[in-house]
């Protein structure tokens, strides 16, 4: 369902040209062909600050679309993407599906459980077969780091990394950055603390890169068993004791404790984890008044965060989810080279 009429055009942000984007009088293409240096979104590592800002600014335009009575635009009409998810996910698949449909883009969902992967089909064969059916983009989540990078070298479609093992989850970082910028204005000079299982967290890696590129000072905190070696060489501080750093930060980014880690001697018990690394009701009460709390979900209530956080006015967990749709719209739009002539 597309509404026609006269509304604002999408603002499209020129990345590399020093001049601002032309209004499009001479060349209508020029104002929509911005964009990102890569055809794919594989990780925050590949983006520079201006590209991140391009995506976030584009997302702000789409965030406004989501508040309209009929939140849909024809920007990617006729295009199709596939959600190629080899790992379980609720919010990310749903978010990408919604982002596609809000852009009038077709979206097919693939899940590992019901696919030929269970018959032993390789990742490459699966992707090539799906591509042969004619899709413009592949959104992939896979347990193996680098799986999207591998795919991007073998398919013509654009590839979006929706989480590759413990490597990157770029759209999560972008939506976190978007949410924090909405709340704090800018990340420049802000102190962000990520708490939890840093070693196994793709969110931690992407957020560290993204927040740092946006000017934030990032620290990580967790038990030494969950801090990967040499991470401080990527420009963050490391803390093993939460209470030594918690009152010095502007943002607390809690990470999920994966259930399987509990049995692998990364820490003794849930009780002890909560005592030393959990955002408990008591720690919440002691937070400075401007501090905001984020979590990529799904939350293990009572483990990394007490239930009280759900009621906490400065917890951004649900706004993160809403903003995720807008950020993913921006990513699909920019990668698919969508048309700028979109009206509300």
């Amino acid at each position: 369902m597309v509404q026609c009429g006269h509304g604002p055009r999408f603002r499209v942000h020129e990345v590399r040209s020093p001049e601002p984007a032309k209004s499009g009088v001479q060349n209508p293409e020029s104002r929509v062909k911005v964009k990102l240096r890569s055809r794919h979104l594989l990780g925050i590592e590949d983006l520079d600050r201006s590209e991140i800002l391009t995506i976030l600014d584009q997302a702000r335009t789409f965030r406004e679309v989501l508040d309209r009575p009929i939140p849909i635009v024809p920007a990617l009409r006729g295009r199709t993407v596939v959600n190629l998810f080899f790992e379980a996910s609720t919010r990310t698949t749903t978010s990408f599906s919604l982002a596609a449909s809000r852009l009038s883009c077709g979206c097919v969902n693939f899940s590992k459980a019901t696919s030929a992967v269970s018959k032993g089909e390789t990742l490459l064969d699966t992707a090539r077969n799906i591509e042969a059916m004619g899709v413009d983009g592949i959104i992939i989540r896979h347990a193996s780091p680098g799986a999207p990078h591998f795919l991007s070298r073998h398919v013509k479609a654009f590839v979006v990394n929706a989480g590759d093992g413990a490597h990157e989850h770029p759209t999560q970082a972008l939506l976190d950055a978007f949410t924090l910028r909405e709340k704090l204005g800018s990340l420049d000079g802000k102190r962000v603390l990520m708490v939890g299982d840093i070693t196994h967290s793709r969110v931690a890696r992407s957020n560290l890169l993204c927040f740092s590129k946006l000017g934030a000072r990032v620290a990580v905190c967790g038990p030494p068993t969950m801090i990967p070696p040499d991470i401080e060489q990527y420009g963050c501080e490391v803390f093993y004791r939460l209470d030594r750093i918690l009152d010095e930060v502007d943002v607390v980014n809690m990470l999920r404790v994966q259930q399987e880690r509990i049995t692998s001697s990364s820490f003794p018990t849930v009780r002890e984890y909560r005592a030393f690394y959990g955002l408990t009701a008591e720690r919440l009460r002691n937070l400075a008044p401007e501090v905001v709390v984020t979590h990529p979900g799904p939350v293990n209530w009572g483990v990394e965060m007490d239930f009280d956080v759900a009621e906490f006015s400065r917890a951004l967990v649900l706004p993160q989810v809403t903003n995720g749709v807008a950020v993913r719209m921006a990513v699909l739009f920019l990668l698919a080279g969508g048309e700028g002539e979109v009206r509300s």
Partner: protein
């Protein structure tokens, strides 16, 4: 592969003959008659011999690769003994010692004989099998080591499934003393080495499951102590870590009968090569940090690491064209080892040319009790002709192995093997 020419009388003229045992070089002609070296001196008259102009080239004893995987029996789609020994010759290796992790594993006298016969039928490099320490590489019951030695096996290893039980390793070290053969240890504590990359800066960035260097060196420490205790002979395979080099240096200083090898990729590449998730750089043990690479080179320089082996591990394109976790570990190396070592170690001023050749030709023979390497009158002809000035591009088309899983494809190499004379067969490349 240029087909072998059977020669009766051949004269290599004008080359520089390297004696890696003495560490010396001299200009000399080499006359080979009926597969034996008859004379090594200047100014030998042609007298009806076929003349090979070796001016500007070097002549050295054939190399021995004491650690490779030729996949036969079991995975003849990846490599066969024929294709693997042909690739070996092109790399200057006149003898190869394939590891026993085939399907089935080489753990009986009959299988040892099978491998040797297949190599003889192929007629390229000679083959000296490494047999299993334990039946089926299960790490439990000793295999018939004595019978395998009788059939031609020269060393024993469970290779990629290292003997975890210290009592079994102790018994293997003790038992092998009866036959004067080394136990070759692929040092890896499985529980610690869980992963596909070196634990460190790069694995942190890429989120790869990773194992630390101590997974190798902690087992090396245990193994050298058991070798000391049993007075057995231990050889440490594919040393990749600085801490392992330190352990071996310490053990040698104590008089432990321990030797060690490393591979060209450990002194040429580091974990940084994984940055694009290149599955051809996925090897086990994993490529490590720059400090480890330098320590491996230092270990070669001071003799802590005796030998250079390839760990040639063929895998098909379709197997390597996968996500990083799913790709099998290993890279081919028979055809590139000499050039990579020449570039890194000789041009890199770590080793003299003669000392470098000794790591390829002398040390493996000494460790495995093979006849000594020499280009000397009276010995069987087993020599390589080297063009050290050659620059050549390593391309997929040139690969003689059945598999092409090398991260060095496309690289310009320095120095190459131009010919091999093995008995009465002459190969030109």
């Amino acid at each position: 592969m240029q087909s072998a020419e059977v020669t009766k009388r051949i004269l290599l003229t004008g080359g520089t003959v390297i004696d890696p045992q003495k560490g010396s070089m001299r200009r000399a002609d080499v006359l080979v008659v009926g597969g034996r070296v008859e004379k090594v001196e200047t100014g030998i008259p042609a007298a009806g011999a076929e003349i090979v102009d070796c001016r500007g080239k070097h002549i050295a004893p054939g190399f021995v690769d004491m650690h490779c995987h030729l996949r036969e029996p079991g995975r003849e789609d990846e490599e066969t003994i024929a294709s693997g020994t042909a690739a070996a010759l092109a790399g200057g290796f006149t003898r190869v010692c394939p590891m026993p992790n085939t399907e089935p594993a080489i753990d009986t006298e009959a299988q040892v004989r099978f491998e040797i016969r297949r190599a003889a039928e192929a007629g390229f490099a000679r083959l000296h099998p490494i047999g299993c320490c334990t039946k089926g590489r299960q790490g439990k019951e000793l295999a018939e080591i004595g019978s395998m030695v009788g059939a031609g096996a020269v060393g024993f290893s469970d290779d990629g499934s290292p003997v975890a039980d210290p009592q079994v390793l102790r018994r293997t070290l003790e038992y092998c003393k009866a036959f004067d053969v080394p136990v070759i240890s692929h040092c890896e504590i499985r529980e610690l080495a869980e992963g596909v990359a070196n634990e460190g800066l790069v694995s942190t960035r890429l989120g790869l499951k990773a194992g630390p260097d101590v997974a190798e060196s902690a087992q090396a420490a245990r193994d050298v102590l058991l070798a000391e205790f049993t007075q057995g002979r231990l050889h440490i395979a594919h040393v990749s870590a600085r801490s392992t080099v330190d352990v071996i240096r310490w053990a040698k200083a104590r008089g432990v009968q321990v030797t060690a090898e490393t591979c060209p990729h450990y002194f040429t590449l580091t974990e940084e090569a994984l940055a694009d998730f290149d599955t051809n750089c996925k090897v086990n043990p994993p490529l490590r940090a720059e400090g480890d690479r330098r320590a491996v080179i230092a270990g070669l320089a001071d003799g802590t690491i005796d030998a250079i082996a390839t760990d040639h591990a063929p895998h098909l394109k379709g197997e390597k064209e996968a996500e990083f976790d799913a790709a099998p570990p290993g890279m081919i190396g028979l055809e590139t080892a000499f050039s990579l070592g020449y570039e890194q170690l000789v041009l890199g001023r770590t080793l003299s040319l003669a000392d470098y050749i000794a790591r390829l030709a002398v040390a493996p023979r000494r460790i495995l009790n093979l006849p000594p390497a020499a280009v000397a009158a009276g010995s069987e002809a087993e020599l390589v002709v080297l063009d050290l000035k050659a620059e050549w591009k390593y391309t997929a088309d040139s690969v003689r192995s059945l598999s092409r899983n090398s991260p060095f494809l496309g690289r310009t190499m320095r120095g190459r093997v131009t010919a091999v004379l093995l008995g009465n067969r002459f190969f030109r490349f």
